[in-house]
């Protein structure tokens, strides 16, 4: 601590340069944080997917439905504990830009299948008791100001016509990354009021297995059960299903890694150059420090610590800025939940430390090797 004054004074030496370098760390880490939030938004379904859940879809494609009758047959298979289903509604609330996913669900089993979505018993009961009732995710409810008792008109696109719903419950995610944008309503409501082409059909099934280690075997058994039928199935673990869904949008992970990599490499060059300039300018001072008895290792540590301090100031501010920006992204891009996972926060700080140290290493090394006699001769 007693050397902090020296460290701090060196950083204040060229205030504009230090501020700009801190600023580049801030921008880079903010970008990193935003990219991490984008990554989390796309991959959150994968991250939070249940290890004991399988998704059963039509082998032809996700948009091809499956018979409602499969429910009982699925339940009879060994290893299957619970089955529920959902169907994509694809309606529009007021304006096409107001996107949030709507699912017609099987009321009885859906809540048990997805316990990560918390709903009060009272509200759930109210939902169950109202055929036109719906459950709205907290993020969507916040965005449109929905509250229990509200009546919401939704214009059907697949299922033509204006559909009226009563908000009966608001659910919240119990884990970071849980999707709070969904809208659920009774499949029975769709069945009774929807077109004939979808009667007796569902979008997909979600199956809970008794033993997650047996999930693969159960999945194979399901597909075998419906093989050679008019609606063959494709069963995947929920995680793989979510991953495949994201993959449809392109290799987002590679894109994010590429952008992040370029940003950090540039940052390394910028900071390295700043530190090298700073050390060059202070050759005589570093020589004086060595003259009065400061060791080569101390000088090495001093320059590294300066680089690290610059990096940490900018990095932490950048990460904080990203944390602040993420909710704004959620507002700007409806239907997605942006947040900065704790693991990304930690990774951001670790990267900051690494870039700070790497950028300071070469200048610090040259400062350490500086010969006092040569340096003083140059004064």
């Amino acid at each position: 601590m007693k050397y902090f004054a020296l460290l701090w004074a060196n950083l204040k030496r060229k205030k504009i340069r230090t501020t700009l370098t801190i600023g580049s760390f801030l921008i880079a880490l903010m970008l990193f944080g935003v990219l991490a939030a984008v990554h989390a938004a796309f991959y959150q379904g994968i991250e939070v997917a249940g290890a004991d859940r399988l998704v059963v879809i039509n082998r032809v494609s996700l948009i091809q439905p499956l018979p409602l009758s499969y429910r009982e047959r699925l339940l009879q298979l060994p290893g299957v504990k619970e089955v529920t289903h959902a169907s994509w509604f694809g309606g529009v609330y007021q304006d096409e830009r107001n996107f949030f996913p709507q699912f017609a669900i099987e009321t009885e089993s859906y809540r048990r299948m997805f316990p990560e979505f918390a709903i009060s018993d009272g509200q759930w009961k109210a939902f169950e008791g109202d055929l036109q009732g719906c459950v709205v995710g907290a993020a969507t409810a916040r965005r449109y100001g929905f509250k229990p008792g509200d009546r919401i008109p939704i214009k059907g696109t697949i299922f033509q016509g204006m559909w009226e719903f009563n908000v009966r419950a608001i659910y919240t995610g119990t884990r970071q990354g849980d999707d709070e944008t969904q809208f659920w309503f009774h499949k029975k409501y769709l069945e009774e009021n929807g077109p004939d082409f979808f009667k007796g059909l569902v979008g997909w099934y979600t199956v809970r297995v008794g033993n997650p280690d047996q999930a693969g075997a159960v999945g194979k058994a399901i597909d075998a059960r419906f093989a050679n039928s008019s609606n063959e199935t494709k069963t995947e673990p929920e995680r793989a299903f979510a991953a495949a869904f994201v993959k449809q949008m392109g290799n987002i992970e590679l894109l994010l890694l590429t952008i992040g990599g370029v940003v950090f490499f540039t940052l390394l060059l910028v900071t390295g150059n700043t530190m090298a300039t700073s050390v060059r300018e202070r050759t005589a001072e570093l020589a004086v420090l060595k003259t009065v008895g400061y060791s080569d290792r101390f000088v090495l540590g001093l320059v590294l610590a300066e680089s690290l301090l610059i990096a940490l100031q900018g990095g932490l501010l950048g990460v904080l800025a990203a944390v602040g920006i993420a909710p704004g992204l959620s507002q700007a891009m409806p239907g997605m939940t942006f947040y900065l996972p704790t693991s990304s926060l930690v990774l951001g700080v670790v990267l900051t430390v690494l870039v700070g140290l790497a950028a300071g290493l070469v200048p610090a090394w040259s400062a350490m090797r500086l010969r006092v006699v040569d340096a003083l001769r140059r004064v």
Binding site: L6, A9, K12, T291, V292, G293, Y294, S295
Partner: protein
């Protein structure tokens, strides 16, 4: 008593057959040639000589900033020419106070912080360091300039801060390289009076390189360095 014949025993600083050679391209420059020197505690020695005669090289060797090509330097019983670079650094912190022509203060530190620098390497507490720094800044007449930065001080005042930094850890001896070289006459006289006081009232040992005969006058002994050899002035 300062001697250059290498016959004295038990002096504070003992230099024997000191050689320093540099290689510049294919040419070998023999800066110091078999130099002997004995300096007693409390002595004040001035080294004079033309530019390039090796005065600063000698000072660097005595201060452990450079290593001899041959010969030995012994200070208070420690043969510093045999110490490793790491040990030499620690030795410098304990035994040598440096005063430079260009003061060489750290511009972003206050006078107090500049003087405190050598003490940060000791185990003194913060309060003890403060007491030491205040004492030496008072001694050099800058008690009222402690929180000033070098840019807020005159050249003479900067050199006083540099002297305070050199003496704050109570080193065995002081090395001064042209301490008045960058000062006007009046400031130069004030600095020399201060060095005089350090020698006469505080019994400091001072070895000084200078071109200034008026500064050299104050020394107990003036040694001329010419072509790598020390000669005692008449």
């Amino acid at each position: 008593m300062v001697r250059v014949d290498g016959t004295s025993n038990g002096s504070l600083i003992q230099v024997r057959k000191l050689d320093k050679r540099y290689q510049r391209g294919s040419e070998e420059i023999h800066v110091l040639q078999g130099l002997n020197l004995d300096v007693e505690a409390g002595d004040f020695v001035a080294f004079m000589g033309p530019s390039g005669s090796g005065k600063t090289t000698l000072l660097n060797l005595l201060g452990g900033l450079d290593v001899p090509s041959a010969g030995t330097i012994t200070v208070a019983g420690d043969e510093i020419s045999a110490l490793s670079a790491q040990k030499l650094t620690a030795w410098r912190a304990r035994h040598v106070g440096f005063i430079f022509q260009m003061y060489n203060l750290i511009p972003v530190l206050t006078a107090f912080q500049n003087v405190e620098l050598p003490l940060l390497l000791t185990k003194l507490s913060r309060a003890e360091r403060r007491r030491h720094v205040e004492t030496v800044l008072e001694l050099v007449g800058l008690a009222d300039r402690m929180q000033h930065y070098p840019r807020q001080l005159s050249g003479g005042q900067e050199q006083r801060v540099a002297i305070a930094r050199a003496i704050v850890a109570d080193p065995t001896f002081l090395l001064a390289d042209e301490p008045t070289g960058d000062l006007d006459r009046r400031s130069a006289d004030e600095i020399m009076e201060l060095i005089d006081r350090l020698v006469n009232e505080h019994n400091k040992t001072v070895l000084m390189v200078t071109h200034d005969p008026r500064a050299a006058e104050r020394a107990h002994a003036v040694l001329h360095l010419d072509k790598g050899v020390l000669i005692e002035a008449a």
